[in-house]
């Protein structure tokens, strides 16, 4: 019964979106406040309807109702309650309902916060996108399909996904990606109306900041999960699925900086419109990449080519349509002739945008080129971390070099005076860090030394910005976000430059040396959980004047026939000590030995803390925009 309510709510939402678009269209044509109000009411009901549908999906997962095929495929009665709930968005179909609910949420929020011709047209654009995705979900990807005969037990959720950080990762990522619908819809509305400028930019800013915040948290959770769950201690692999979220993140970062110029100075508006459209298009491209099965990687769990074609068509219609509108109408809007000195805040923000966009374009190239080549000519080429580090690395380094300078440049007029005064010590500190690392740690890679120097430069800039300009509105969010970037860089420099890993096979009582500590395998014991069997290694780690026990696990999930590693971490301010239990091997003399992998990860907590701080900065800025808006109205 609940599944049928969920299915009905999806169809009801589709009917309501069409009503939302129709009312808004009539309202626009007749300039009628009544029709516009009806459209806003419909937008709210669409969200209620989709939220109800999503709640129904979660309910059938919690009940373990295996007559619903999606529950049978992705859940198991022995799973803890939290992961039963997470199963609702663990599959392609379920995640599409969540995606639609997210889009509807932002469309309803647009309706709630804005009135007037721009907002009404935005409701038509947002409704159009939602119609495409709802039709797709209802007819090609419906999670409420029943099956018969009803199985007694489900197949279980991929055990790699049964983890708190990863259970929360998709909802936050989607909250960010779907949030890009708001600037997208507002851009389409602005282009349609043929008028742009400050009003549009001011409307688009808080949404962009909110989307950026959620996107940052979502990506960081995924990255943190990869760090401790995959057993390799890496937190960014340049995997296509990761790149799929990095591209919209880079463009959103570019957009929120270009909107500063558009909203404050009424300049760069055409460019901001273009970025808004591109950012949401890349979010849709990411959905296609991850949910069509076109990639085969650890992350890509859904395999169904037919759906891929449909998702690509949605991308072509929505993204391509908006870009075509941009090409037709932008020349009318691009008229703003701004005047500014190259050495000005406008100049710095333009450079920031050029570099961030370039980084996104290179990631797009490296992610799509192997796919296109394989499809077009059958040739195989692999693009991995080494390529991106070599190409995206220098671009981002340049962007980071400008970052601390921009807040100390004045609008329009040139002049280095303030920059020289406020960044002198930061500059000296950065150069000292660079020289110090190169001289003291000769083995450290140059990239790590440069990253550390940039970290000092960026953090010093943020502190100086905060100390000298804190009375200006918006500085707190900016300072937090930029300081977070610096902290992230310091962690990245420490972990990529100074991590040491050793691995060997040990039997009970044996020990080995790894990253400055002695690791002794005391014993391996059983540590089974609710839905898995597990071996737990008991290790004594001594060194650096300390001794402690670590207990990494190796879990086997019978329902999925899959093994996962649960690493053991010993955290400290200086970094993590990281051990993983590998496979058991029989030696020639019949003894069983377990592969133990041990490593240190200097300053790695800063990678995640820095990213969360950047998100916190985004949240503070969003809040201050909402408050300013409320005071104005």
């Amino acid at each position: 019964m609940i599944a049928e309510i969920g299915r009905f709510a999806l169809s009801l939402a589709l009917a309501l979106v069409l009503a939302q678009m129709l009312c808004a269209l009539i309202g626009t044509r007749r300039d009628s406040a009544v029709w516009e109000a009806l459209s806003r009411r419909a937008a709210a009901l669409v969200f209620v309807s989709l939220a109800a549908s999503f709640a129904c999906l979660i309910t059938v997962f919690v009940q373990s109702d295996f007559s619903v095929e999606n529950v049978f495929m992705n859940s198991h009665s022995a799973k803890p309650l939290g992961y039963k709930i997470a199963g609702a968005w663990g599959s392609h179909e379920g995640s599409m309902v969540m995606w639609c609910a997210g889009l509807a949420g932002y469309s309803a929020a647009l309706a709630h916060f804005y009135r007037g011709p721009l907002a009404t047209r935005a409701l038509i654009a947002a409704g159009g996108v939602l119609v495409l995705f709802l039709v797709f979900t209802i007819f090609a990807s419906n999670p409420f399909d029943r099956m018969s005969p009803v199985p007694l037990e489900g197949r279980g959720l991929n055990p790699l996904l049964q983890d708190p950080a990863l259970a929360a990762h998709p909802p936050l990522l989607y909250l960010g990606l779907t949030g890009l619908l708001a600037p997208f819809a507002l851009s389409v509305a602005a282009l349609w109306r043929g008028r742009s400028g400050k009003e549009w930019a001011q409307a688009a800013r808080p949404w962009t900041l909110a989307a950026f915040t959620a996107l940052t948290v979502g990506i960081t959770l995924g990255s943190y999960w990869a760090y401790y769950e995959l057993g390799w201690g890496g937190w960014w692999f340049w995997d296509p699925v990761e790149n799929a979220s990095l591209m919209p993140w880079l463009l959103t970062a570019a957009l929120l900086h270009s909107l500063v110029v558009s909203a404050g100075r009424n300049a760069l508006t055409g460019w901001s419109l273009f970025l808004s459209i591109s950012a949401f298009s890349l979010a849709m491209l990411g959905l296609f990449l991850t949910r069509s099965g076109v990639l085969t990687s650890v992350h890509a769990f859904a395999l169904d080519p037919r759906r891929g074609v449909l998702l690509l068509s949605i991308l072509a219609v929505a993204g391509g349509g908006a870009l075509a509108l941009f090409a037709l109408r932008a020349p009318q809007i691009f008229k703003d002739k701004v005047k500014f000195d190259p050495v000005s805040r406008e100049g710095a923000l333009i450079l920031n945008n050029a570099l961030l966009t370039m980084a996104a374009a290179i990631v797009l190239l490296g992610t799509l080129y192997p796919l296109i080549l394989r499809t077009a000519s059958g040739d195989d080429v692999a693009v991995g971390g080494p390529y991106f580090e070599l190409t995206v690395g220098p671009v981002m380094a340049l962007a980071l070099l400008i970052l601390p300078v921009a807040p100390f440049l004045r609008w329009r007029q040139g002049g280095w005076g303030e920059v020289r005064r406020r960044l002198l010590y930061g500059g000296i500190g950065a150069l000292a860090a660079l020289a110090g690392i190169i001289l003291i740690a000769r083995d450290a890679p140059l990239g790590a030394a440069v990253t550390a120097a940039l970290a000092v430069w960026v953090m010093a800039g943020a502190l100086s910005d905060f100390a000298t300009q804190r009375r200006q509105p918006g500085t707190l969010g900016r300072g937090l976000a930029h300081f977070g970037v610096g902290l992230f860089l310091l962690g990245a420099a420490g972990d990529t430059g100074f991590s040491i890993e050793r691995s060997t096979a040990l039997t009970r009582g044996e020990s080995f040396e790894a990253a400055g500590r002695t690791v002794t395998l005391e014993t391996v014991r059983r540590a089974d959980g609710a839905n898995y069997l597990a071996d737990e290694g008991v290790l004594t780690v001594t060194g650096a004047g300390r001794q402690f026990q670590m207990t990494p696990e190796r879990r086997y999930f019978p329902t999925a026939d899959q093994t996962t590693t649960e690493v053991a971490l010993r955290r400290s301010l200086l970094g993590d000590y990281y051990v993983a239990l590998g496979q058991a091997r029989e030696r020639e003399n019949g003894e069983i030995a377990w592969v133990i992998r041990a490593s240190n990860h200097p300053l790695v907590w800063m990678v995640f803390a820095g990213a969360f701080l950047t998100a916190a900065g985004g949240l503070v800025s969003t809040g201050s925009h909402v408050r300013r808006r409320r005071r104005a109205s």
């Binding site: 450079l351 971390g385 080494p386 390529y387 890993e501």
Partner: protein
């Protein structure tokens, strides 16, 4: 970084000097384990990855250059065994495009900046 593990597992490979070992490690980070999903051979436990690590160590020990090692791997295991594609064949596009992008970005930035520098008069918006 992880490639040190290779040194432990390698019984048959020749002993390398420290600089040779560093080169071999760097190469192992750039060569994909062709039976794994996007993992470099330095990070994989697969048997084939171990064989490839031995081979890389041998080649470096014979005094081959980085480019020669990459070519050797690409000839045997295909272009997709290199996580850093070579700038030839289908791979050239991947290296030329970022340069073109940089040129395009520079062009647009300069065009936007090419507004008259004499702007130190009162701001009309202020």
């Amino acid at each position: 970084m992880i490639a040190v593990l290779a040194a432990i597992l390698l019984a048959s490979a020749p002993a390398l000097t420290e600089t040779e070992q560093e080169r071999a490690n760097a190469l192992m980070d750039e060569i994909r384990c062709v039976v794994c999903e996007g993992q470099p051979i330095s990070e994989s436990n697969a048997g084939l990855a171990q064989d490839m690590r031995v081979k890389v160590t041998e080649l470096v020990g014979e005094g081959r250059s980085d480019a020669e090692v990459r070519d050797w791997i690409a000839d045997r295991y295909g272009e997709s065994a290199l996580l850093r594609p070579r700038a030839r064949g289908a791979g050239w596009f991947l290296w030329v495009t970022p340069l073109l992008l940089a040129a395009a970005a520079l062009f647009f930035v300069l065009r936007l900046m090419r507004v008259d520098r004499n702007v130190n008069r009162p701001d009309p918006d202020a």
